[in-house]
Point group: C2
Chain length 210, copies 2
C-alpha cells in the first residue's frame, strides 16, 4: 500500500474505515444519518450494488479472457456477489420492500470517467477503480453493521465483511500481478483521491455510494 | 409446449435431442465429428459460453429489476453458470489449454437480430431466445457426453446435464409467468424455427454453436 494513502483516521466511530487503507477520506456522519433514516432505500440500493459488482467482474473477465489468474479470482468474486445479491433480496422480501429500479448516484459514472482509454492503462485503472468501489462498499457496509439498531440486520452486514474485504484485496493482487508495484502505487494514489472527491458532497438521494 | 415443435426425432444417436422439445432440428452428425476432432477448441468455446450465459442472466435481471420471480430464478442460473465456467476452466488447465479469446460463431448474433425492439415483445423474445440457447447447449453437451471417448470428460458433461435442462425450463416458466400461454407458444414456434435455421450450415470453426 502506498504510504500517502495509509492514513490513520481520527473519528472514534470509524473503526472499520481505519482498516481500509485505500480510502483517502472516511465516510461522513451525514451519510450514516441519511442511510439509517432511509434504510429500505439503502437496502434496495445495496441489492443493485451486488448485482452490478458481479457484472463488473464478468465484464473484466470478458475483456481480458487470456489472463488466467484474473479469470479465476474474478469468477470467485462474481459468485460471492451473486450470493450476497440473493441474500439482500431475501431480506428485502422479508421487509416487504418490492424490488424496483433505482437511479444510480454520480459515484459510479464519475469513477468510470477517470478510467484511461488505452491499454494497458485501461486494465490497471479498471482493476483499481473496481477495488476502490469494493473498499468503499466494505467501509459503508461496516458502518451499517456498527450503527444499525436492528440486531439481525447488523449481524447480516457483519457476515458480509470478510468476503467484501477479500474483494478489494483481490483487485490489488491482480493489479500487482500484471503491473509493476510502483506503477500501481502511483496510480492508486491518484484514483483514491478522485474516489474520495466524488463523495465530498453527500448525494441527496440515499444510496450506498451517496 | 406447442405441438408444432414437439417433434419426434428419428436418429438413433439422438437420445438427448429427442427429449429437447424446443429444438425443431436435431444437431447433425457433422457437428459431432467436427467437435470430437477439435475437442480443445470446443472446450475453450464451452468456457466462453458459460461466462456469456451468466452475463445474459445478469443483463436480464438488470433490464427487468422489478420482476421478483425473474430476478430470483436468474440469480440461481447465473450462479450455476459461473460454477460450470470455473469447472470447465479447471479442465482446460488440466489439459494444458491456455485461456484465450475465441471469435464467436454467427449463432448468437443471428438470434439477437430476431429479438423485437419494443417492450413487452422484447422481454418475451429475450426469455425465449435465452431458453433456446440453453436448450441447444443442453443437446450439444449431451452429445459430447454420449460420444466422448475420454470417460472422465464424458462424466463431467453428464454431470452438467441436469442443471442445463433446468435452465431452459426456467426460461419457459418465466415466459409463461409474464405472458399468456398462447402468445408464448406462438412466438416460441417462430423463434425455434429461426434457431434451427441458423445452424443449417455447419460453421467452419468448431464451436458449441457451430
Amino acid at each position: 500500500m502506498p504510504a500517502a494513502i495509509d492514513i490513520k483516521l481520527a473519528s472514534a466511530t470509524r473503526d472499520t474505515a481505519q482498516k481500509i487503507k485505500w480510502l483517502v477520506t472516511p465516510t461522513s456522519d451525514a451519510w450514516i444519518t441519511q442511510a439509517l433514516a432511509n434504510l429500505d432505500t439503502v437496502l434496495l440500493d445495496h441489492s443493485h450494488c451486488e448485482r452490478k459488482a458481479a457484472g463488473v467482474a464478468l465484464s473484466l473477465m470478458s475483456r481480458y479472457p487470456s489472463n488466467e489468474k484474473l479469470v479465476r479470482e474474478l469468477t470467485a468474486i462474481a459468485r460471492e456477489e451473486l450470493e450476497h445479491f440473493d441474500q439482500v433480496n431475501r431480506i428485502l422480501e422479508q421487509r416487504g420492500v418490492a424490488l424496483a429500479p433505482l437511479p444510480a448516484p454520480p459515484y459510479g459514472g464519475g469513477l468510470k470517467a477517470v478510467v484511461r482509454r488505452n491499454e494497458p492503462d485501461r486494465m490497471l485503472d479498471l482493476l483499481l477503480v473496481s477495488g476502490l468501489i469494493e473498499a468503499r462498499s466494505h467501509e459503508r457496509l461496516g458502518l451499517l453493521a456498527e450503527h444499525l439498531p436492528d440486531r439481525e440486520l447488523a449481524k447480516f452486514y457483519r457476515s458480509l465483511m470478510a468476503s467484501e474485504a477479500r474483494h478489494y484485496g483481490t483487485y490489488w493482487v491482480l493489479a500487482t500481478t500484471y503491473f509493476a508495484r510502483d506503477v500501481v502505487d502511483a496510480r492508486l494514489a491518484e484514483l483514491a483521491i478522485a474516489e474520495s472527491e466524488l463523495l465530498t458532497t453527500l448525494h441527496p438521494e440515499p444510496r450506498i455510494h451517496s
